[in-house]
């Protein structure tokens, strides 16, 4: 081992990204490619009665205009990961505003866009329902989603609440939000006879291939579909499931008999690829006067649609984070005339915001420090898993200076700003999905890893290269990692914090297998200086193979494989189990109460993600997560017009996300101890979605500490503090 795993190795793909050498999905130059443009509905509910494409068809360069009248008939994929549950352009029904009603194909992008403005559509319109507030009395308990029930009962929460010495009962609300990756969704579909290649912005190439195969069951076999997605300009969940633009582009390319490229506009990304649903959450906590939780009743209501009823923002932390004997979780929903929601950036943040704010309220009710309250309700992990959350509280509190906090609200002032300190626990579930890897050692002594995982901006190329280099005993720059192609061994979707826990096991196994295979060849080869040495006595470092204890007796990967006469190719697998990562975040805010202005001035966070594979990329995840947490708390919200159910702010100039000036530098600390429950992944857990989950509550709690005003409705814009 050369000890690369754990080090803050720089991005191996950094140079390619900053020089433009990295080819993102829409960068692929495909000969003779045609360009697509979508025409979107301007009503939310009803039916197309008339669709006139004649002007568009007569427009220069237009090859075809596809509508429900001439689109290829497709099969609706049965379930997740095709959340939409209907395919546009298959019939006249309108399910939401901003639904595709026509697909223009032209020789240039500009021609396609211009022709799209010339399609005339008439509708029979029914009045839509757009807001949760307008349909709360229609809330219902949706059926199980992905094998999980939407109601969970532990103990007798109602009775325990009745008996509780202290109660907190409040409502917490959050609006619709959108992922907003900088790279828009894009598909380029290339048919070659009955085989299909898709250059795709996808967080999961394998699942995308599966969904496309389901939709095109009449036309193509799954094995004849290739999905390529080597780089992603951000995904945040928006590119996890497969969406209709991918299916429509593949269909358009088949009908047009030529490759077709589609890039969604920013506005289209507000209705085409999911969002975080609007939520209302009633939370009732019961506790002893000493602050021990005796009951939690968590009843949430989410926006659903009339075509599906999936709950994506589950109340996992209510169920699993704290020691509470009586818990009742109900995840309700109401059907609205809106696009389908989906997973978005740490989906559990939605529920966790309520829980961690309510705990802060409880800490004031019982007169306990918010950290101490959480320590008293700590739930140790069940074996074999580890959980160093108490260590996170200690590390974070110490680095922040929490012990100096005067708990009284509204007493600390600097200039015309009130200062507030708040904290929250951070946690998220991670998934582990069966994955496979292939590793080749060639005659130059270089290693190439192939795995159908993805680089979604988080550092997959870098960390897997470290794992391979360490496993082989090879310098980092002798290892090339190739990702994002269904031609490679199948691997997990890069969503649900699943990449590392799923893929590191197969990759490190492949590295170990490759090393063993090369050593076996060497010791069996009379031409090798290592001939006859017991394999267990061979050590690999820097691409060299030594005899333990006698460094002069050596061979190298290059020489062994060269003598062998052909590359050594091995595979690896290494199934893992899902789990949770943990942390604690401490936030300082400055508030000008008279103007309602809030800024976050300091963030310190400490985490237990198991073993840290790369401190630099892990810290990067923290910066990203905390920044999104600030956005969630202070500004992000998608506005839907109550009368038309149309998104009013589908642009980055009106849907606000934090800029640098909103975001202080973030200090992060890691316990960095391997989790035995994630042994295949070298003790590393899934971590990506954990940072930020507690930030909205920590900010709310800090605002309360600064001002004595308790905010329970994100985002905390100026009007709410006046």
């Amino acid at each position: 081992m050369t000890g690369l795993v754990g080090r803050g190795v720089e991005r191996v793909d950094g140079r390619a990204k900053v020089t433009g050498a990295a080819r993102y999905a829409a960068d692929n130059a495909v000969n003779g490619v045609l360009h697509g443009a979508l025409v979107m509905s301007t009503v939310a509910r009803g039916e197309i009665t008339e669709l006139d494409t004649s002007a568009a068809l007569a427009s220069p360069g237009v090859v075809a205009v596809y509508t429900h009248e001439n689109m290829l008939p497709l099969t609706v994929p049965p379930d997740f990961p095709y959340p939409k549950r209907f395919i546009p352009l298959q019939d006249t029904r309108i399910h939401h505003n901003g639904q595709p009603v026509a697909y223009v194909v032209a020789e240039t992008l500009e021609q396609a866009q211009e022709a799209a403005t010339l399609v005339r559509v008439r509708y029979r319109v029914a009045p839509p329902t757009a807001l949760l507030a307008d349909a709360l009395d229609e809330a219902f308990l949706p059926r199980d989603f992905r094998g999980r029930p939407n109601e969970t009962v532990r103990g007798d929460a109602a009775a325990a609440l009745e008996r509780a010495e202290v109660r907190v009962e409040q409502e917490y609300t959050s609006p619709m939000q959108h992922h907003n990756p900088i790279e828009p969704h894009t598909t380029t579909a290339v048919w070659d006879g009955d085989s299909l290649t898709l250059y795709e912005s996808a967080q999961g190439v394998v699942l995308t291939r599966m969904v496309v195969a389901q939709a095109f069951a009449k036309y193509v076999l799954e094995q004849d579909i290739r999905v390529v997605s080597p780089y992603l300009g951000g995904g945040f969940g928006a590119k996890g499931p497969t969406w209709s633009h991918t299916l429509l582009t593949a269909a358009a390319a088949r009908l047009a008999r030529g490759p077709v490229k589609l890039v969604l506009t920013r506005a289209q990304m507000y209705t085409m690829n999911g969002h975080r649903a609007e939520y209302r959450r009633g939370l009732r906590l019961g506790a002893t006067r000493q602050g021990r939780l005796t009951a939690i009743v968590d009843t949430s209501t989410a926006q659903l649609t009339r075509t599906e009823e999936s709950i994506y923002n589950t109340s996992n932390s209510t169920l699993h984070l704290y020691a509470c004997p009586n818990v009742h979780v109900r995840q309700l929903g109401v059907r609205l005339d809106l696009p389908t929601s989906s997973y978005m950036r740490s989906p559990e943040t939605t529920a966790h915001f309520g829980l961690e704010t309510a705990l802060d309220e409880l800490s004031y009710e019982v007169g306990l420090d918010p950290v101490e309250l959480r320590v008293r309700n700590h739930l140790p992990a069940g074996p074999p898993a580890s959980k160093y959350l108490l260590e996170c509280y200690r590390m974070g509190a110490k680095a922040f200076g929490w012990a100096r906090r005067d708990p009284r609200p509204g007493v600390t002032r600097v200039g015309d700003e009130y200062v507030g300190w708040g904290m929250a626990t951070e946690t998220h579930t991670y998934n582990a999905i069966p994955s496979f890897a292939e590793l080749t050692i060639d005659e130059a002594g270089r290693a190439t890893l192939r795995v159908a995982s993805q680089e979604i901006g988080t550092g997959t190329y870098t960390v897997l290269t470290q794992v391979v280099a360490d496993g082989l005993g090879m310098p980092l720059d002798h290892v090339t990692t190739l990702l994002g192609d269904t031609a490679f061994p199948a691997a997990a979707i890069s969503a649900g914090s699943s990449t590392m826990p799923s893929v590191v096991g197969p990759v490190s196994t492949a590295a170990r297998n490759a090393r063993d295979a090369v050593v076996a060849i060497a010791v069996a080869d009379p031409r090798s200086p290592l001939h006859g040495v017991p394999a267990a006595d061979v050590v690999a470092e820097h691409g060299q193979l030594f005899v333990r204890g006698d460094r002069r007796r050596r061979d190298s990967y290059r020489d062994v494989v060269r003598r062998h006469g052909q590359a050594v190719v091995v595979n690896g697998s290494g199934p893992n189990t899902p789990g949770h990562s943990f942390g604690a975040v401490f936030v300082e805010v400055r508030v000008r109460p008279r103007l309602g202005a809030v800024r976050v001035s300091r963030v310190v966070a400490a985490y237990d993600p198991g073993r840290v594979l790369n401190h630099r990329t892990a810290h990067g995840q923290v910066i990203g997560g905390v920044t999104w947490g600030i956005g969630f708390a202070l500004m992000e919200h998608t506005v839907v017009d109550r009368n038309t159910a149309r998104v009013v702010n589908p642009t980055l100039s009106t849907y606000l996300v934090p800029v640098c000036a909103d975001t202080p530098s973030v200090e992060s600390y890691f316990v960095d101890r391997p989790d035995p429950a994630s042994k295949p992944a070298l003790g590393a857990r899934g971590f990506g979605e954990t940072p930020g989950t507690g930030v909205p509550a920590a900010i709310s709690n800090a605002i309360f500490h600064a001002t004595g005003r308790r905010l329970r409705d994100v985002p905390f814009t100026q009007d709410k503090l006046l």
Partner: protein, 327 residues
């Protein structure tokens, strides 16, 4: 976006002649707003006349007046040493606008002509009286948190988004225009129109008329001036409420005060009654609060923007407090 023609103008007169003679044409300089509007289908032109080669980018100051060429870029004006010294409010308003990248591109004339950020206006799939006269105003019964409480009509309640225009309004600037029939000068306070029943008409500009220059008179008050901008994020965002203030104190008495407000009106908002309520009085929080009440006496709050009635008054107290040392 639709195909359009394009000509590079060689002189101001050339630009005016082409634009006046070409139906549905528009001038383009930085293009930071226009091109987005055209891409989004919120605005459509058959022809663009490019002004970037015209000699209209100078900034000069003499004993009485600052003269800003219409093609001076936002950054140039914001960083100009004399602007910073003599007109802090102008520099601050510009630096609080947009992003560094936009400020390098965007010209002063275009800044005054930027269109409202109303989401209904910018969405070609929505009704909007400003974009399609007679189609209706969804903001009045819809989402109007960012909309005006002053100067609205039953046809339109959209705010004007320019910070610069607010500062220039407070400073009594004059906009110089060149048209097919020659030049004229318009006080900036009269340059933008109230929506009334014709919200599609936003300024006094006639077809082909070009902004060539903005003149700002030097005053003692201007040297003691400030721009306060309240917004939903710290940078690259339009005002929820803003105040441009210039103040001359004679002892504790208000000798001269100029005030204009952004984010609350359908045009950069100046109300001389507010200034009259302060002039000649001692600058106290009570006096400023009374002046603030004058500002909002005719305010028409809607479902989402009622908070602005209170916020703009508090912003006024805050900015005059800072300028006048009142706490």
């Amino acid at each position: 976006m639709r195909a359009f023609g394009y000509t590079v103008a060689e002189s101001p007169a050339d630009a005016v002649r082409i634009a006046a003679g070409t139906p549905n044409s528009a001038f383009v300089a930085g293009g930071t707003d226009l091109l987005n509007l055209m891409r989004d289908g919120a605005q459509s032109h058959d022809h663009l006349v490019d002004l970037n080669h015209l000699d209209l980018a100078r900034i000069d100051m003499d004993a009485t007046t600052l003269r800003i060429g219409a093609l001076a870029r936002m950054r140039q004006v914001a960083e100009h040493p004399e602007v910073r010294r003599e007109f802090p409010v102008l520099s601050q308003a510009l630096l609080a606008s947009a992003s560094p990248q936009v400020r390098v591109m965007a010209a002063i004339g275009g800044n005054l002509l930027q269109r409202t950020r109303c989401g209904y206006f910018r969405d070609a799939g929505s009704a909007c009286n400003k974009r399609v006269p007679g189609s209706g105003c969804p903001a009045i019964s819809g989402h109007n948190r960012g909309h005006a409480i002053l100067g609205g009509s039953e046809h339109c309640i959209a705010t004007h988004p320019s910070d610069l225009a607010v500062a220039l309004t407070a400073l009594d600037a004059t906009v110089h225009l060149l048209g097919p029939d020659g030049g004229r000068a318009v006080p900036v306070a009269d340059f933008h129109l109230l929506p009334g029943s014709t919200p599609q008409r936003e300024t006094v500009l006639r077809q082909g008329e070009l902004i060539t220059r903005v003149d700002v008179p030097r005053t003692r008050a201007a040297t003691r001036s400030r721009y306060l901008k309240l917004r939903d994020r710290a940078s690259f965002e339009f005002a929820v409420v803003s105040v441009a203030a210039a103040l001359r104190l004679d002892g504790r008495t208000v000798g001269d005060v100029r005030l204009a407000f952004g984010g609350v009106g359908t045009r950069p908002w100046r109300d001389t009654g507010v200034e009259a309520a302060l002039r000649g009085r001692e600058l106290t929080e009570a006096a400023v609060s009374a002046a603030g009440r004058v500002l909002v006496r005719d305010a028409v709050p809607r479902d989402g923007n009622g908070f602005k009635v209170e916020l703009v008054q508090r912003a006024l107290v805050s900015v005059l407090g800072e300028l006048g040392g009142v706490r």
